[in-house]
Structures are given as structure tokens and as C-alpha cells.
């Protein structure tokens, strides 16, 4: 009894130490964002900002274009989520429940691309966007279209939704069809409501990926006004003389929306990010 209590105390202590290592850097980042620049590298390190200041946040909102980055990130991520939920679910329903010539071939062709890393598409995608931009200034390079379109439908999302929709019994769909419902109507009134858990997983997974995406937004944006939060933040941190209070204020601003989503939807969130991990591999 005593030995097992001792063992549990040890495990508890180890987990406390580990958690401190996980949370510590965030606490340090928040602390730094509330310091004056001269105190950032004070020796010995100051855990409590003294003097305490909101200058960093003021800079981020007034001098630096972070409100614009934030707006861009929201527009891009929300659009990508909406497009994936609608088009991904529609395609998944067709691939799972409707029969049409070429169905398996097309789905197979999509699945094969899961093996292809994004970097393979990167350069042609950029060239395509350059060409599209010549047609109209609102599409192609350095536009919302350019940021959103390549992620508008993700194959992994279709795969995930198809797996789930396959488990919905055909009999439900058949009786709706006998009642004269069109396939669009079935998708809207039966598939979407029944597949809500999978839609939630897809939405969270897509949102996190889009919000945190870096390589593509870095390549496709030229002007400051089109940058997303990660790109703006990375550029700020790569300046020759980094203003660390501003950079950390920007960092806090970048993770805050994600933390809010995480706090509200914690269980769903973890499920969304580890989608398919345990079940899919079993």
C-alpha cells in the first residue's frame, strides 16, 4: 500500500514537471508580451513583467498590420472550412451511397493523391495562380482566391466523411427516395444531420490545418495586406533586430482564437486532430 502510494506520488510529480515544461514556454511568451523591450532579456530573468505594459499589444493593433492578418486568417480559414464541409460531404455521399460509372476509379484516383506531399504541387500551383491573376486581378497570386482555392476540397476530408456516411443504413435513404425526395434533399435533410459528429471532426481538423498553414500562404502572398497570421508573425520574428514584446503580443494573438476553440470543444478538438488514429489503424 505504501509502496504503491509512493509510486503514485512519483508519477504525479513527473507529470507535474512535464506539464510545467509544456505550459512554461506559453507563460513566458505571455509574460514577454507584457514587458517593455529593455526588460525582455533582463538578468536574472523576470517572470513577472515589471513595469507591466500593454505597449506590445498597442503596437500590434496600431503600428503593425495584425488586425489585417487576423481578418485574413479568419476569412481564409472559415471559407476553407465551409467549402470542405459542403463539397467534401457532397462528394463523400456520392462516393459512399450513389452508383455511377467510374465511381471507384475516381475515388481511387483521389486516394492515390494522399500519398503525394503538398510540395509536389507547390510550384505548378503557384504558376497556375500567376496565370489566373493575368485573367482577373481578384484571382490567382496574392488574392483570397489564391489562398483558399487549393484547400477548398481536401481528399482526406472526403475519405473521412465517406467512411462515416457508409455506416448510415441504406434503408433510411431508400424510404426517403420512395417518399420522392431528391438526392440533394436527402443530402441536406438526412446525411448532414446524421453525419454531424463526422462533420464536426472534419470542420475542426480543417480549421486547425488552415489556421496554422504556413508554406502555401507564404508562397502565394506578396503584399503585406494579404498575409495571414502565421506569415505575418514569421516575418516579424525574422527581422534583423526583433522587437520581442511586439512579436510575443502577435504570438498571443495568433494562438488565442485556437485556444478559445480548444477550450470550448476540448474533447471534440482532440478527436478531430487525432482523427482515425486509433480506429483507423486497428
Amino acid at each position: 500500500m505504501n509502496a504503491s502510494n509512493g509510486r503514485r506520488a512519483l508519477i504525479f510529480a513527473a507529470l507535474c514537471a512535464g506539464s510545467l515544461l509544456m505550459i512554461g514556454p506559453f507563460v513566458w511568451a505571455i509574460g514577454t508580451s507584457l514587458k517593455i523591450p529593455a526588460e525582455v532579456f533582463a538578468s536574472p530573468p523576470q517572470f513577472i513583467p515589471r513595469p507591466f505594459t500593454l505597449e506590445g499589444y498597442k503596437d500590434v493593433f496600431t503600428v503593425l498590420p495584425f488586425p489585417r492578418y487576423l481578418l485574413n486568417s479568419i476569412i481564409v480559414s472559415v471559407s476553407i472550412v465551409a467549402l470542405n464541409v459542403v463539397f467534401g460531404t457532397a462528394a463523400a455521399y456520392a462516393f459512399a451511397k450513389l452508383h455511377f460509372p467510374g465511381r471507384n476509379f475516381l475515388f481511387g484516383a483521389l486516394l492515390v493523391t494522399l500519398m503525394v506531399p503538398f510540395q509536389v504541387n507547390l510550384i505548378p500551383l503557384y504558376r497556375i495562380m500567376v496565370e489566373l491573376h493575368k485573367i482577373s486581378p481578384v484571382i490567382g497570386v496574392d488574392t483570397y482566391f489564391g489562398l483558399i482555392a487549393p484547400s477548398a476540397v481536401q481528399v482526406f476530408g472526403i475519405f473521412l466523411m465517406r467512411q462515416y456516411i457508409s455506416t448510415i443504413p441504406d434503408s433510411i435513404l431508400e424510404s426517403a427516395r420512395l417518399d420522392g425526395a431528391s438526392e440533394m434533399r436527402i443530402l441536406r435533410t438526412i446525411i448532414f444531420p446524421l453525419a454531424r459528429p463526422a462533420v464536426a471532426t472534419l470542420a475542426i481538423f480543417t480549421f486547425v490545418t488552415a489556421w496554422n498553414d504556413f508554406l502555401w500562404p507564404l508562397i502565394i502572398t506578396n503584399s503585406e495586406s494579404m498575409r495571414t497570421l502565421p506569415v505575418g508573425l514569421a516575418m516579424l520574428s525574422r527581422k534583423n533586430s526583433v522587437n520581442w514584446t511586439d512579436t510575443m503580443a502577435g504570438t498571443v494573438l495568433t494562438i488565442l482564437p485556437m485556444l478559445l476553440v480548444f477550450a470550448v470543444l476540448q474533447r471534440r478538438f482532440i478527436e478531430g486532430l487525432t482523427a482515425g488514429a486509433v480506429k483507423g489503424s486497428g
Binding site: 508573425l233 520581442w244 486532430l273
Partner: protein, 292 residues
Amino acid sequence: MLGSLSGSRLRRTAAGYALITPAMAVAIAFLFIPIALSAYWSMTEYNGLTPPHWVGFHNYTYLLSEPQFTKAVKNTVIFVALGMTVGPALGLATALLLNEKVPWRGVFRTAYFLPVTASLVVVSVVWKLLLNEDGVVNAFIELFGIPGQAWLANSNTALPSVIVASIWQGLGFETVVFLAALQSIPAHLYDASKVDGAGSWARFRHVTLPGLRPTILFVFVIGIIGSFQVFDQVFVMTGGGPNEATRTIVFDLVERFRNLELGQASAVAYLLLLLLAALSLVQFWIDRRSRR
């Protein structure tokens, strides 16, 4: 009746095509065409301004003998090898601890998962601050009499620093996945082995590890594929330096793209694809063999 049946089948076929059209259009324009184009460009000399000029496999043979690219491959392999051994091992250890009956388990799980929710850019920026020469990591180790380092500016410590930040970011993912798998191992297996007199190591070896096998494979597959594409951390923390000590395959690709060496950059992309495909085959083979 027959007529209406085939009519409804026709409608369903039409609906099928209609429903996949948006997804297929995006896939064709932004997936299939780019994949084919970059295969072609990898066989050409191309700067994006003048038409591509066919050179066959020259880009591939050139890259494989070019010091910058081979350095990038070497760095990436070190990154993957260290990250994907230490990371999953720590994740499994943490999951085993979290699987014990201790208070605050939910709190701990959330703490470990926090970095997973942050983007790699955020993590990299924060670690760049921590690892600054005058930063808090140096202040901490100096308490123990260890001299501070210019972690990211020294070619011996830059790559390990990037690896540490990456492991830190991914640890919560590995922990949560392993924890879920641990909790799905039926308790009666443990009870049975206890009755058989198995010690805790024997139980771990003969019940826990076999139960985790598919999850371990999953973590490696996802982790290795993702790690080979490492870019964000390098771009933010070191810019590929110092002296190309942290140049990775994707960083190399982006550099060539920016220098308008689009043919070479495409060849880098295809070499990455071949590498990942080969790894998938190996993993598939391991999976098959261990199932037998």
C-alpha cells in the same frame, strides 16, 4: 414501374456526378494537373519566364551529387531519425504515466496537448525567444554552471535545437494517441497475465506492446511523413543556417523555387515523393510481416 425504376436510377447517376463535380473540379485543377506538371518540369530546365527546356534526368543526377542538396537530405534524415525516436518514446512514456490512477489527469492531458494546438510558426517563434543567447534557457542552465550557448547561431547546436522544439510541439499528439490506445486494451488481458504471475515488465512486453502495435505503426507513419516535410521551424528559427546546418529538403526546394530554378525544385519535390513512397512500402511490408 420498370420505366420509373430505371428513371430513378438515371436520376441517381446524374446526382452522383453532380455531387462530385465541385470536388473533382478542384482536384483536377489544383491536384492532378499540378502533380503531372511538376513531373514534366522536373525533367526540364525552367525558370518560369521562358518555356521549359527538356533535359531528361539531368536535374536528378545533378541534385544527387550536389553538396547543398545532399546536405539537406542528411539534415532531414537526422531530423526524422531523432525526432521520430525520442518523440514517440517520450509520448508513450507520458501516456503510460497518464494511464495510472493519479489526480488531475485531465489537466495534465490538456497541458500536454496545448502545443499541438499552436501552429509550428508560433512554436518556432516562442522557442527562438527561449533559445536566445540572453534568453531564459541559457539563464536556467547557467544556474548549474553550464555556460550559455548561441543555440541557433552555432552549426553544432542549431539542428538539435530545431529538433527539440519540434519534439516539444508533437509530444502531446503522440501522448493522446497512445493514451487512447492504452485505454482500449481490454482490462481482462492484464488480469489474466496477473493470474499467470507476470511481473509489470512482462505485462508491458506481452500485453501492452502487442496491443499498441497498430497505434505505434500509425504514429510512425504520420510522424515520419510529416517530419520529412519539415520547413516552418527551419524558416523561422534558423533560416536554414548557420552554414546550411539546418537546410532541409523542403527548405532546399523553396530556395531553388525562389532562385527560379523551377526544374530543379520540381525534381527535389519528386525525390521527396519517391522517398516517402519507398518508406510507405517499407512500413506496409513491416505491417504485413508482423501480422503473420
